[in-house]
Subunit: 111 residues, 2 copies
DNA sequence: GTATTATATAAGCAAACGCTTATATAAAGG
DNA sequence: CCTTTATATAAGCGTTTGCTTATATAATAC
């Protein structure tokens, strides 16, 4: 029970960053590749990669290569996924980022 | 909507600490005074006060003086309380700390 | 009053964090 | 091949975090 609190705290620590929290909410409805995140968040590609690495190391997201792109998706097998899912429900949908990408013709077809 | 994510992220940042997360879970079922937290967590009184200040500043807990003691309780009027409540449900009950205090005769009667 | 108990605040410091720039790796296109 | 594109990793650095010790405030007990 000690450990359970600690595991949850570690997840909250990761979600305590606006960029990572937004990423997770976005991934709730669609997969994204790294370059799309770079396009959306006004920060550098290494910064994005580092955020994704933290999320991946915690088992919150998973990656899969598609050619030169690496697609990130929610890891719905994560042990505490119901916790994560529950809290994402309280956040506003972020799909406007997707529409924004499509308007700019910058959506990578991940299918 | 930007702001909503940011507010949530700030709450998760606070919950991303084992001590504060445990405190919140404890406060879900009972009020506690500072000295009880000091007794429970193996850390100094200033450290506890600083954690509580952060939780209070974020509107997650509230305090009320009772004589020389200051009693902390969950602030169920906090704007994002349903978010907090939802996630606390995923955490194991921490009432064993209360029992532990009572065994040691260190429970302050907060009533 | 003075001493004791409970709590908060301030200052200092090591560790963690999140960015940056530079570089490495890996696939695609010519 | 060589160049370009996508991504990851490493190193460096300023900021934030969470503790510590020391001190201040406030209520109680004598």
């Amino acid at each position: 029970m000690e450990q359970e609190i600690e595991r949850a705290a570690n997840i909250f620590k990761l979600l305590g960053d606006k960029t990572r929290l937004t990423m997770l909410k976005m991934l709730e409805s669609h997969d994204y590749c790294v370059c799309e995140f770079v396009e959306i968040f006004k920060t550098s590609q290494p910064a994005i990669s580092q955020h994704l690495k933290k999320l991946k190391d915690a088992g919150l997201v998973k990656e899969s290569r598609r050619g030169q792109w690496i697609i990130y998706s929610l890891n719905r097998n994560q042990e505490l996924f119901s916790l994560v899912q529950g809290l994402l429900e309280h956040l506003p949908n972020q799909d406007f980022y997707l529409e924004q990408l499509e308007e700019q013709g910058r959506r990578i077809s991940c299918k």
